[in-house]
Amino acid sequence: MQTKLWKLALGAVAAAAFSFSAVAETPKYGGTLNFVVGSKIPSYDGHVETTFGMIHPIAPFYSLLMRVNPANPGDPTDFQCDLCEGDVPAGAEGGTLFTFKIRQGVKFHDGTPLTAADIVASWNKIIFPPEGIASARKAFYKMVESVTAPDDFTVVFKLSFPSGSFLPAMADPYAFIYSKKDLDEHGYTWHKMNINGTGPFVFVEHQPGAFVTGVKNENYHHEGRPYLDGFKAISAPKMSARVQAIEGDRASIEFRGFPPKQRDDLVNALGDKITVQESDWNCVLMVTPNHSRPPFDDPRVRKALTLAVDRWGGSQYLSQIAIVKTVGGIVFPNHPLAATEEELVQIAGFSRDLEASRAEARRLLKEAGQEGLSFTLNNRAVDQPYRVVGTWLVDQWKQIGLTVDQQVNPSPVFYDILRKSGDFDVSIDFNCQSVINPIADVSKYLPSAGNNYANFEDAEIEEVYDRLLHAGTFEEQRVIMREYERMVLDEKATQAVTLWWYKINPYRSYVKGWKIAPSHYLAQQLDQIWLDK
């Protein structure tokens, strides 16, 4: 508790310091921001993609209907209008009707004026995509019944039931607004290879595997922005290259995050020329057993897997070498809907009494006739934090007599095994979300969710989640969330969470206006950033 209070105090001081510096410093215009990106761009279509490799270089070309406030991205309730006007609307008709007024005078980069029809076409593509058209996050909008435009500058979202997860989902940073003209003329896949937005920067060039460049949009709708003349997103898959780029000032920042050692390297080398921001991260690696493959169809075996893991100890030593740190349940830690430590230690695998947990794990394995079980762990060939966490898990399971072979596969093979072939015993999976929206985020643990790869069905879990989705008050949501969490992590042990990621961003001190967010997907339009040099 004391640690938590200390953390909160530190956070408040840091926030105050940043707020003060924001007030005290007047933004300067000009300059080009060079930043490094550690992953490739699969396509330019935000509605389809899920990777930071796309959003970091491409988000600056697009606008959203509404967004997380880039000046305060750490607050999960601070939203502001982007293409809408005024304040973010409050729901009418019992929270089932949201009316957005749209800015006038906004133009796409090709000169086409933006109207409500563009917003409706984009959101219909996201929520109700035609057959065969992918939409990565359409499950977030289950409550939306229709999206309509009564006039050229009004958009109405009609919900079939009120839901606290609707507004946060509307601020999804991938929900790029496309021109209806482009969708009508070129089709729904045109944006995979082409860019035409209303964002703060205009696309100039993409050299695959090398860089993406953009220049200032002189007609940007947020007055006085962007401050930068342009940006260059440099592709650098190797972490050592990204660190060197910042140290050598060939790049100013990397938005995803570095492990502690790299932070220390940069701080030691550059002193006050480096500023560091740190935050909990809305991202967690999970252990996904394949329920369709014995003995992982047995809840006792699955529970033994989670009981063996020393999360509290792991938080201390893994945080020295990896971008993971925080112990938490299925909800983003420190969110009001998240389990408190007192609630957490009641869940299997979270007890402070590690020996008792492991003794129980051995007992369960013996009871299930699976003492000395051997299996394969499917993992992704990405060092941070996949391979590190995988190696840690192998050691944790060894402590209860299990023999685990870690199969580290390149991303395409890893995804193919996890998502398509289902040919695995136990796999690492991740739940990384953008806007902190716990009710939507925990849908990952729902058997019917399109992105749950544990291969099982469970009507009880579905029923509890349905109640959660329809819960009217925060108190009710919190009670049902605990029930759902206990069911998923303990009673049925359908999946297990490991440690939540911890975001560390060391960057050149002359980069101003950038605030760390609890997600590497958020606040990436770059219109708030300026260079003090």
Partner: protein
């Protein structure tokens, strides 16, 4: 006083002769001897690993993360608190297993194919050599990378990954050995005793295995020793690239890969596996060169 029998005298003479050959080798090939010592040390290290160190190479000791080299841990510890000396010692098992297996299998298959190609000659030899040319056109590491990558897409069980590393390294060795052996075998094929064997009605297999193969053993042995060093280096390269064995298995290339993130603040994590690879490859190459010199009749008379 006992008198020695003729047999005992013969045996003593043989022993003295062997000892003289050994001392002659040491005198003429000091670098090769040093290489031989390294090879023997590595083999001993691999065989007696559990008796040399009391630690488990895969056991994590989180309280010992990043301990610098000292009395307790002569080579320091890594990011998991594992004793680096222990992992270097056990890593020699992976390196030598892969190294010797690839070298022996690759060279042996190359030997049979090379001698067979030379013996049959004509169209068979021509076609066989063109196939070898195709294989030889790929740089060793590229070919190995391609084979390992293909094996990854087959979703094979992980405990077979080391065998695919072996296959990936072995295949490029085959044409290299076959080419060298064929050159020697072509000369042997023209010697009259081969014609005599044919005239006596010996089978092709018997002529190849009993009469030709023993006469190309010198280049074969030289290729084996040269290939062991190369195979160790290739295995380390594949592991470094994440395509070899996987954590927590101790392997020098994998240790180097893991050390990348810490090389600036904890350099010992990278230095020791690097030294182990360099010394091992250097030792095998020196030893191989010395054997080549010793077995080469032209160099032997100099």
């Amino acid at each position: 006083m006992t008198e020695m029998t003729t047999d005992q005298l013969e045996e003593l003479r043989d022993r003295i002769s062997l000892f003289k050959q050994f001392t002659g080798f040491v005198r003429k090939q000091p670098l090769g001897t040093a290489g031989g010592v390294v090879v023997i040390l590595y083999i001993l290290m691999a065989v007696f690993a559990p008796y040399i160190t009391g630690f488990d190479p895969t056991e994590n000791f989180y309280q010992n993360q990043f301990v610098a080299p000292g009395m307790q841990f002569p080579m320091g510890t890594d990011e998991w608190g594992r004793d680096i000396l222990t992992r270097v010692i056990y890593g020699s098992r992976t390196a030598l297993f892969v190294g010797f297996t690839c070298a022996i299998v690759g060279s042996t298959v190359g030997l049979v194919l090379g001698v067979g190609s030379a013996y049959y000659g004509g169209l068979i030899d021509l076609l066989f050599q063109r196939v070898m040319d195709v294989f030889m056109a790929f740089p060793l590491i590229i070919m190995a990378l391609a084979i390992v990558s293909m094996s990854r897409s087959l979703h094979l069980p992980p405990d077979t990954s080391v065998y695919f590393v072996i296959i990936a390294i072995t295949i490029p060795f085959i044409p290299r050995c076959a080419r060298v052996v064929r050159a020697s075998a072509l000369a042997i094929r023209e010697i009259p005793y081969i014609d005599a064997a044919r005239a006596n009605g010996f089978s092709d297999a018997r002529i190849i295995l009993r009469h030709m193969v023993p006469n190309v053993m010198a280049p074969y042995l030289i290729m084996i020793t040269a290939f062991v060093g190369q195979a160790i280096l290739l295995e380390a390269s594949l592991s470094f690239l994440g395509l070899g064995v996987q954590d927590p298995v101790p392997a020098w290339g994998l240790m180097l890969r893991n050390a990348q993130e810490f090389i600036r603040t904890e350099p010992w994590i990278a230095i020791w596996p690097g030294v182990a690879i360099s010394l091992g490859v250097f030792g095998f190459n020196l030893f191989g060169d010395a054997i080549r010199d010793a077995l080469d009749p032209k160099l032997r008379t100099q």
